[in-house]
């Protein structure tokens, strides 16, 4: 009857106590983000459906994909190489949300 014991362990009182404590720990829901302040709107992403055309005839569309090309040799360039040692802290202590780059 392990299940029953656990059910007793998470009683209504336990849930209420946890919820009550949680409410004292936090000002309510990201309330600062409401408001009419444009700054709180975050990043407006570009529209993806355009009527534009590419500027020429010979860009991506007509070239062949060749795995000998520099494109494939370049991996793993980019920023993924400069990563930290496994012991680095990850900054999860504060549990602040990550912010998107402002455009």
């Amino acid at each position: 009857m392990t299940k029953l014991l656990y059910q007793n362990a998470i009683s209504a009182m336990t849930l209420a106590a946890a919820l009550g404590a949680a409410l004292t720990m936090t000002a309510t829901p990201a309330a600062a983000a409401e408001g009419d302040n444009e700054k709180c709107y975050g990043v407006a992403l570009k529209g993806k459906n355009d009527c534009k055309s590419g500027p020429g005839t010979s860009c991506a569309g007509s070239s062949k994909i060749d795995f000998q090309s520099d494109a494939w040799k370049s991996l793993p360039k980019g920023t993924c190489e400069k990563t930290a040692s496994p012991t680095s802290p990850t900054g999860f202590g504060q549990l602040q949300e990550f912010k998107a780059q402002k455009s």
Partner: protein, 304 residues
């Protein structure tokens, strides 16, 4: 304002005429300019959006559009309905379009004489079709369906094309004229597209205009093109929407306005998007052409 006297109005039966945009200049609404629009409230005739960019359920795009819509007339321009397809119109997409139009009640809705989907694949370009009696019948039945489902007239835009089909039996203006007559839809005349296509196919843009029922023009598009060369070095213009309107296109625009009178005119600039101020300047230039057109047509009873 020009009020096209078309006997074809009967063909649309009970479909209400769409409201009209003011016969002044507007610009395409870009997310890059949302905050600039709301902080400057420029004197513009209208904004135009691409329908498919506002088919999400919520979020910032709708938040901004709702606010801007409160203060400006709106044109909704579809880019994905694929009216020129062999297959029937995608009813699911048409439903989403109807939802969007109900939400914003735009003055006009327009789409392209082109296809973009085949066999469940969306190709994200406005692709050409041959102009034959067979494709004409098909395009008309698709437009009939769109107008019936949306319960409004639509405007059809002439395309930019880079190739022609050997099997075509009608010229593009002949094809468009027949579509307008059979379906009762209006014409969105893209003057840049006329210039691009006429250059690419070695035709006379003025003859192109003269072959169209210009009284049916309810909106004009202007945009910048890019230049390339074909296989033998002839000029091949590309409808790139990435720069200012070319002077040759401004000239054509003025010549069109002489024939149509003042018409709502959109500046399209979708690539290498300029500052909002620069875009508004381009619209102001169009407004000066429109002001001339108003003066020219003042004496004509048609425009009083």
């Amino acid at each position: 304002m020009p009020s096209p006297s078309h006997s074809e109005a009967d063909l649309t039966g009970a479909l209400p005429l769409s409201c009209r945009l003011p016969a002044t200049a507007g610009v395409g609404l870009k997310p890059e300019h949302y905050t600039a629009v709301l902080s400057t409230y420029p004197k513009l005739g209208f904004f135009e959006i691409h329908a498919e960019n506002y088919m999400g359920a919520g979020g910032l795009p709708h938040r901004y559009l709702s606010r801007i819509r409160e203060d400006y007339p709106l044109s909704v321009h579809g880019v994905g309905l694929s009216i020129g397809s062999a297959k029937a119109i995608d009813e699911g997409h048409l439903d989403r379009l109807a939802t969007l139009l109900n939400r914003y009640q735009p003055e006009v809705f327009s789409e392209h004489l082109a296809w973009s989907s085949h066999g469940g694949t969306y190709l994200n370009d406005l692709l050409p079709l041959p102009y034959t009696q067979e494709t004409l019948t098909r395009v008309c039945s698709h437009i009939d369906r769109v107008q019936e489902r949306l319960q409004r007239r639509m405007l059809l835009e002439n395309p930019s094309t880079y190739v022609e089909f050997t099997q075509s039996t009608l010229s593009e203006p002949e094809f468009i004229t027949d579509v307008l007559q059979r379906t009762g839809c209006g014409l969105l005349l893209d003057v840049n597209n006329v210039f691009v296509s006429c250059t690419n196919h070695h035709r006379d843009p003025l003859a192109y205009f003269d072959a169209l029922p210009l009284s049916r023009v309810e909106e004009i598009h202007l945009a910048g093109f890019a230049e390339d060369r074909d296989d033998v070095g002839a000029s091949l213009l590309i409808d790139a929407h990435g720069c200012a309107v070319a002077s040759a296109v401004w000239n054509l625009y003025c010549q069109v306005l002489e024939r149509t009178g003042p018409v709502a005119t959109l500046i399209e600039w979708d690539n290498d998007i300029p500052t909002f101020e620069r875009l508004v300047e381009e619209a102001e230039f169009a407004d000066r052409c429109l002001a001339t057109a108003w003066r020219t047509h003042k004496s004509s009873s048609r425009y009083e």
